[in-house]
Each structure stands twice: as C-alpha cells, then as structure tokens.
C-alpha cells in the first residue's frame, strides 16, 4: 500500500527531499546482506510505498510540495532532478509568492482557506495514482508560519475528506533557543489543533538531532542539511519495508496502519518519538562491529532513562520494582526519572536478526498497567540491512519522552502570553485570545495525562 507525503514549508520540503533520497539510496544499496531475490522484493515494496513509475523508468516520489514562497520548492525540485535517480512530479507542487511570515494565524486563517481547493486537489491527484492507499505522511515544522499553520489546516481537511485514511504528522520541534521568536506560540497552536485531527504525531527535536550530529557523527560545522540527513536516516529505518508477522516471505503491506495499531491504543496519547542505534559517521562505521545483545541493551536503557542518543546514557535509572503501585505522579523536575511507556515498537534490520533477543522490552515494569506487555510491545525483524549498517535497531515509542519538552514549550508560551506580547500579530488574522487559551488547556491536559501514567 502506498503512502502519500505532504511536505509543507521550508522545513517540510527540505526534510522531505532528504527522506526520499535516503529511502531510494538504501533501496538501491548493494550492501543489503541478503540474496538477490530478497533485495528485489525489498526494492519493489519500497517503490510501491513511496514512488510511482514514469515512462522512462525514473521513479517519481509520491509527494505533494506546498510552500507559500517559491525559493525552497524550486531548490528542492532541482536537487531531486539533479540526483538523476528520482524526482518529484512536475505538477506536484503548490507555491505562492509571499510567505506566511512566521505567523500561524496567517498560515491557518488566510493562506489555508484561500488555497484550500488547489492544495486538496493536488493531494487528491496524488492519492488517485495509488493502486492501494495506506495514508498520509505530513512533514512540517512547528515554529514557522506555513508548515505549522497550513499544516494544521490541511490535516484538518484531510480528516474531513479522507476520514477512512490514516494521517501521521512528522513534526519538527525547533531548537529551544532562537529559531523564531514566536515559535512557542506557533507550536502550541499547532499541537493543540493536530491533537484533534491527526492520528499520530511523530516528533523530532532539533536540539536532540543536533547533539547526534555533534557527538555521534563528529560533524564540526553542523548545517541543516546534516540535521535533515540524520532525520531522514531515522525515518528511513522505520518506514522501509519490514516483514509481516504472518509470513516471512512478504513485506508488510500497511505500514502506517500497523504502526498506528501498535503504538496508538488510546486517542489521548498520540505522541511518538524515535530512537535508533547505532548512529555514526561513515568513517567510524568501517571499524565498528555490533552485537544484537549490545545494541538492544543500549536501546532499552535509552528508553528507560529518556536518553536522546547512545552517548551519555544514564545507567542509574532503573524501572520500578514490579509489585509496587505505579500510581506515582511523575515529577517534572526529577532527574532520575524513569520513563514509563504506553507502547513500544522495535524494528530490527540486518544480519542474524532472528537471533536478536528482545525479552528486555517485555518487562511489565516498563509499561503502564492498563496494557499487557504482549499488546504494548511489538517487534518487527527484517533480514535485509539498512543503509550500510550491518545491524540496526530503531525504537518507535509512545512514552513519556516528550513530556518535559512539551511542558517547557507550554511554559514559555504561557509566560509570553501573560504579557500579551505579539498577540496583536495573531488577532490581526482572526486568532483570538480564547483560541490561545483553548490551546493551552488542551496541551495542559496532554501533559497531565502523560505525567500520570
């Protein structure tokens, strides 16, 4: 089944390009560590999901590009075409002349409705090209005006018009300090709206990815390109084909559906994040070997201790002893806090994957009490290796990972809101103080729900 990607704004489009590039590069990689037939099945599955075929054989990404000003889309289209290996559809983009000015209200209330028909039309055309349609993958940032405002608007529209299809929003959380001054306002407005209309929110934090680039990849002068490539790697390791449980000869047909089913058991809890091991620069990769036991041990501790990456994991954090009541309220200030999960999915790719032992993830102490570990935890194993890594493991987790960052964003936005700073820029376009209050309320509820796991 195919996934249609909607790339919104500068961030969404820049990342979208890297994702498609990573997916196709991996699919054509010669280091799959599996037999030719296996590789071909993998390629075919990847292609069906993300690309459609053109006459001369160049794959066309199943994507719709939306931005309110032309520079980024032009760049994205030409970069894809230059790669020679794939490209975007000629008429797959929607562009305007004047951007959203970092203003969520402008994106949501002005640009959204104004261009609703054109954008939904483009999306419909892309969906019609799919033989079998799985759902939408929407890539956007929270900090700006287009990705955030139009992203929220489009997701709402998708919910109305495609109520039977799934929607997963890939949201980029901005750096804590300074990409955009009104980023916290834009973020809370986006999140509160998406919580109502999206099925799952897959979150990436710029701060976390930046650290991965600095510490694990050893990049000295980190550019957004570097950051986006790490992101694309993580997403690729989740979305590339995996075996279905029933038969080990077929790749999973409905990746989005399966992800949602496993990870979002309750609509109150929609926030997912990704952790992967190993992650390093290509140079280091040549000299490293891994064992599944080692990788999984690190991944499990990253889950428990809420670590963002392999380095600097706090090994002191331990799950509570089973038998003790799990009703303790999570304190946002405690450092040694243990990360409770609702559901986890581990995807393993590579050599000897069948021998990998994931028992450690089935410990009931890791989870809240209202789901049995057998339902809360799932593992997908695939022989075919991903992107030059002989063994790789990725964890998609619905847990308390994002509580603290969310709480911080809400706190900062609240402080600014109390002084009414910048509010006139939003009321100018129809977003009133009540709308802000509604957003604050929804998000405080989300924080509280997660805290009380």
């Amino acid at each position: 089944m195919s996934i249609v990607t909607v790339q919104l704004g500068q961030c969404g489009n820049q990342i979208g390009f890297e994702v498609f590039d990573a997916l196709l590069s991996d699919s054509h990689s010669s280091q799959g560590l599996c037999c030719k037939r296996e590789n071909e099945a993998y390629q075919a599955s990847c292609k069906e999901r993300f690309f459609s075929e053109e006459e001369n054989g160049v794959p066309i990404a199943r994507a719709v590009l939306v931005d309110m000003e032309p520079k980024v889309i032009n760049q994205t289209l030409s970069k894809a075409a230059q790669s020679g290996r794939w490209k975007y559809g000629q008429h797959a983009c929607f562009c305007q002349k004047q951007g959203s000015g970092n203003n969520w209200a402008y994106g949501y209330s002005v640009h959204g409705p104004r261009h609703e028909e054109s954008i939904m039309d483009l999306i419909r055309k892309e969906v019609e090209k799919c033989d079998s349609f799985s759902g939408f993958f929407i890539i956007m940032s929270m900090a700006g005006g287009t990705g955030s405002g139009i992203g929220a608007f489009v997701t709402q529209n998708l919910q109305d018009q495609y109520s039977n299809s799934l929607k997963m929003n890939q949201i980029i959380w901005p750096y804590g300090t300074g990409e955009v001054i009104v980023q916290n306002y834009n973020s809370i407005l986006t999140l509160s709206h998406l919580y109502r209309s999206s099925d799952a929110l897959l979150v990436h934090e710029n701060d976390a990815v930046h650290k991965i680039c600095a510490k694990l990849m050893n990049i000295k002068q980190i550019s957004f390109s570097d950051i986006n490539q790490v992101l694309a790697h993580q997403l690729g390791s989740v979305f590339q084909p995996t075996y279905s449980a029933e038969s080990s000869f077929h790749y999973r047909r409905n990746p989005l559906g399966d992800l949602m089913e496993h990870l979002v058991p309750h609509p109150e809890f929609k926030m997912l994040s990704i952790r992967n091991v190993p992650h390093m620069s290509e140079n280091s990769l040549a000299y490293s070997t891994f064992t599944w036991a080692g990788l999984l041990k690190h991944l499990r501790q990253m889950l428990i201790s809420n670590a963002k990456m392999e380095e600097g994991i706090d090994w002191h954090v331990r799950p509570p002893l089973s038998g003790l009541p799990s009703l303790g309220k999570m304190s946002l200030n405690k450092d040694l806090h243990f990360n409770t999960s609702i559901a986890n999915l581990v995807i393993l790719r590579g050599k000897d994957v069948q021998s990998a032992d994931v028992e450690g993830f089935k410990d009931p102490a890791l989870y809240t009490s209202w789901l049995e570990p057998v339902n809360a935890f799932n593992v997908w194993k695939t022989q075919r290796a991903f992107s030059k890594y002989e063994k790789s493991a990725v964890l998609v987790s619905n847990s308390q990972f994002l509580v603290k960052p969310l709480d911080m964003i809400v706190g900062k936005a609240w402080n600014m809101f109390a002084s009414k700073a910048y509010i006139h820029q939003y009321t100018k376009f129809g977003i009133e103080e009540e709308d802000f209050l509604d957003s604050f309320t929804s998000l405080e509820q989300v924080v509280a729900s997660y805290c009380n796991l």
Partner: protein, 490 residues
C-alpha cells in the same frame, strides 16, 4: 517571490537611495552572472525593453534588457535628483517616477508636510500606484529619509499616512537618519519630533540611524586600513563603505562612505528574502518577530564585519568575533549600547558560509552577557542566507528591539524643549496653514508616551524571572480499572 518599492525623499534620502541602487546592481551582477532576469532581481528591479515607447515595455523573464529600479524619487529641490539623472545611474531610474519642485522646504517640517503634502498628494499617489501596478506581489515599501530637515522629514512622513490608507497590506519600513547633537540645522529637533509622531503612528518598522555613529564607524575603518597594522591584508573591495565595482567609482562626496553603510544595511536586510539559504527570513517575518507591541517598532541595527581580511580560511575565532562585534556599541548604527540595556527581541541575519551550529554556539556564548525581557528570555530570530555580500565571505546584520533607543529619544526631546520653551523659530511653523501649537504639544506627548513605555520595560530589567502559575488540570481516575479516565479542567 515578492517585490519592494523604495521611496527616497529629500536630499539625504535620495543620496542614500542612490548609493543603495548602485550597490544593489553590483550585488546582483556578481550573483547573476548569466544576465538572466530572475526572481531575485525582480524584487527590486523591473526588466524593460526600452525600445517600446510608453508603459508597455515590461519583460518578465529571459535575458536582462534594461533594468529599472522600483523606486519613487521625491525632492522639493532639484539639485540632488538632477545630479542622479546626469550621473552614471541615470538609466536605472524611470523619469516618470520623479517628483521635484524648485524651492525646497527650508528645513521646515510644516512646509514639507502640509504645503508640499497637499500640493503633490495626487501626483505622489499616482506614482506610487504605478509602481505598485508593476509588481506581481508587492510586499514592502522602503522609505529613506532624514528626520532633521524639511522635505525628508515632513513630506517623507506625510506619505506614510498615504501608504497606510492606500496600501494597508503592504509593510512600511522606514530608514530614518536622526540628527546628531552637533547638527547644523537649528530647527532639527522640531522637525524630528514632529516626524516621530508620524513614525509612531504609521510606520510598521523604523530603523533609526544617526550620522555621528556612521562617521565613527568610518573613522574606525580608516584607522584600521591606514594604520599599517592590518593595512596590507584588508581586502580592498570588502570595506562596508566601499563602492568599488559599482558605477560610481570614486567617493565624490564625504557622505558617500556613510551612505554606503546604510545601503549595505538595506541589502543585507532583504538578502534572505531574495536569495536562497537553509533558513530563510522574509520581510514580513521581521515585523512578526521583532515587534511585540505595535508602538515598540524601533530597531537598532549593526553590521559586521566592517571589512574582511584576505585570509581565505576563516578560523572560527574570526567568525565568533563577528558575532561579538555585532553587540558592541561601536558597531551600532545609532548611538546606543544594547549590551547594557534590555532586549525585547533580537534578529541575527547571517550571510555566507555560516551554518546553524556556528550561530547556536555564538548565541550560547553571548547570551549570558545580554539581558532579555522576562517574557522573551530566548527571543532570538535567526536567518541563514547562502549568498554573502560582494567582497565578503560572510556577514552579519543584527537587528535589536532594545531599550537602548531611549537615550536618543530623550536627548531629542531635551533639545526640542530647549527651543520650544523660548518659542524660538516657532513662527516659521505656525505661519503654515493648519499648523498650531497643539501640533507641537501632541508630538511631544506622543514621544513622551513612547519613552515611558521604554522606562517601564527598563524597570523590569534586574528583576528575577518568575514562572507564572499555569492552568491546573484535575484528573479523575475511575477506581476499578486504572485507565486514562476522564479529565476535567479546573
């Protein structure tokens, strides 16, 4: 992509404007080697086939035929505009986009605003409409003028109201040259304060600049270049004051070097909107991020580096120095010390080979020495544009909404009061029809109110930052099976 129209008013405005167009051409020539009329150039220039008579000659794509500036030139004396039209830039300006008179405004705001305002209102409107029609998507008017004289100050601010009424959706960015203490125009305080009221009410964003600061920057550069210490290794084309490669090859006037700084400011301000980069910043984002309350729209600017050394491999230390300099009071284009005042918001617009990690490293490094208002502790806006300015490998424009503008306004008010108490020169203004003393008192109170706003913010400066109590949520859990249950908002 959007277009902007530059409206240059008065002697100062036109002289700066002329430098701006010169440098803009130079920048686009350096970037656009193939001579294709692209969207970046179209933001400031029209492409016209000069063989076609009348108005129909606009060409939207393809090779550059003849570039015409999207500009309206207004002056109530002929001298400056005539010189422009006879100089090397004459072909860049459309002669239909000029409004001139002969007598001048006599350094009298009232003459500029009221007399010439009403006289030329229709003509000005017509030229502005024409220039807007030539634009696909007009986003911004850039007004360049001085505050101390008569035309730039009076007529320049008269058209602000006109722009607000006629083009309410188009941003009004005003570059205002404030008079220095030793200004030779006696009535400059009157003119400035009367103009300030208009800026308060009708401008979206004001970039105040004063001549003394520009002069100090030039002296600093001259010292560096001529001292022999770094003299041999400064890239000559890289001086922020230089016009080498531009059409006007020599500094014919003493103000040229100073005007070039302001011209560079405007180029850098718009660079991220015109050229590509990894984190773009459009002009509408400037107002959105830097203007937390409508009245507080005065932004102090600084440009670094002032020159580039010929060393091609820039060590990170040099890059970091560029960031440090942006906050030093010597580099501000206004007599102001942002480091010792309170920041409401700050934008860093970087050009060239600088990446997000360099910016973040420097923000982390400099943050402790800067004071931000309590509700905007992380009030930074960043933009990264890939194309550096001509002659440089990288550059930084910092825009600060900071209470350090207050002293400039207070001094202006003091100078005003010294004159006004004695009613000195007042009759020149009152004899203009429609001018009364109440115009003066209203203007002063407008300024006083603004100063008071800044005072209130300054008062919060050293107070500890407290987190405000948040909304509290009550949670009800059903006792039998522990499930998420229902959540209730208290």
């Amino acid at each position: 992509m959007t277009q902007s129209v530059v409206v240059q008013v008065g002697q100062c405005g036109n002289q700066i404007g002329c430098c701006f167009w010169d440098l803009a051409l130079r920048e686009h020539a350096a970037v656009n080697q193939k001579g294709i009329y692209d969207e970046a150039i179209s933001s400031f220039f029209r492409n016209v086939d000069t063989r076609v008579v009348g108005d129909g000659g606009s060409i939207s794509k393809g090779k550059i035929c003849s570039l015409k500036a999207r500009a309206v030139l207004i002056d109530m004396e002929e001298g400056v505009v005539n010189e422009i039209l006879q100089g090397p830039l004459r072909d860049v300006f459309d002669t239909k986009q000029l409004i001139t008179d002969i007598s001048g405004s006599g350094n009298n705001w009232a003459v500029g605003h009221r007399v010439f305002g009403s006289l030329y209102q229709d003509q000005i409107l017509e030229k502005l409409r024409k220039s807007a029609e030539h634009c696909d998507c007009l986003q911004c008017f850039f007004i360049i003028h001085s505050m101390g004289g008569g035309t730039g100050s009076g007529l320049g601010t008269f058209l602000l109201k006109m722009l607000e009424d006629e083009f309410p959706e188009v941003y009004r960015f005003v570059t205002s040259i404030y008079p220095s203490g030793e200004d030779d125009v006696i009535t400059s305080p009157y003119n400035s304060i009367l103009a300030m009221k208009e800026l308060n009410e009708h401008a979206d964003c004001v970039l105040p600049i004063d001549n003394q600061s520009l002069f100090d920057i030039i002296s600093k550069i001259d010292l560096m270049v001529n001292s022999g210490k770094l003299g041999t290794t400064v890239k000559p084309k890289s001086l922020v004051t230089s016009s080498s490669g531009a059409l006007k090859t020599r500094h014919k006037k003493p103000f040229d070097a100073m005007n070039n700084i302001v011209a560079n400011l405007l180029l850098n301000l718009t660079s991220s909107a015109r050229f590509e980069g990894s984190l773009n910043m459009d002009l509408n984002e400037i107002s959105m991020n830097l203007v937390p309350f409508p009245q507080l729209h005065y932004l102090v600017s600084s440009l670094t580096p002032l020159y580039t050394l010929t060393d091609v491999n820039i060590p990170p230390r040099r890059l970091d120095q560029m960031f440090s300099d942006a906050f030093s009071k010597d580099h501000q284009l206004l007599r102001a010390d942002p480091k010792h005042s309170l920041y409401l918001a700050c934008a860093l617009m970087v050009r060239g080979n600088v990446q997000i990690s360099d910016v973040r490293r420097n923000i982390e490094r400099l943050k402790p020495s800067l004071q931000f208002v309590s509700w905007n502790q992380e009030g930074w806006k960043t933009s990264l544009c890939s194309i550096p300015p001509v002659g440089h490998s990288h550059s930084l424009l910092a825009l600060a909404n900071n209470t350090c503008v207050k002293p400039t306004f207070m001094e202006l008010k003091e100078r005003f009061m010294r004159l006004y108490k004695k009613k000195a020169h007042l009759h020149h203004y009152l004899q203009v029809e429609g001018m009364e003393e109440s115009c003066f008192t209203e203007a002063v109170s407008s300024l006083s109110a603004l100063i008071q706003e800044y005072n209130q913010l300054d008062a919060t400066k050293n107070m500890p930052v407290q987190d405000l109590p948040r909304l509290s949520i009550a949670i009800i859990l059903s006792s039998e099976n522990i499930s998420p249950g229902s959540l209730q908002f208290l």
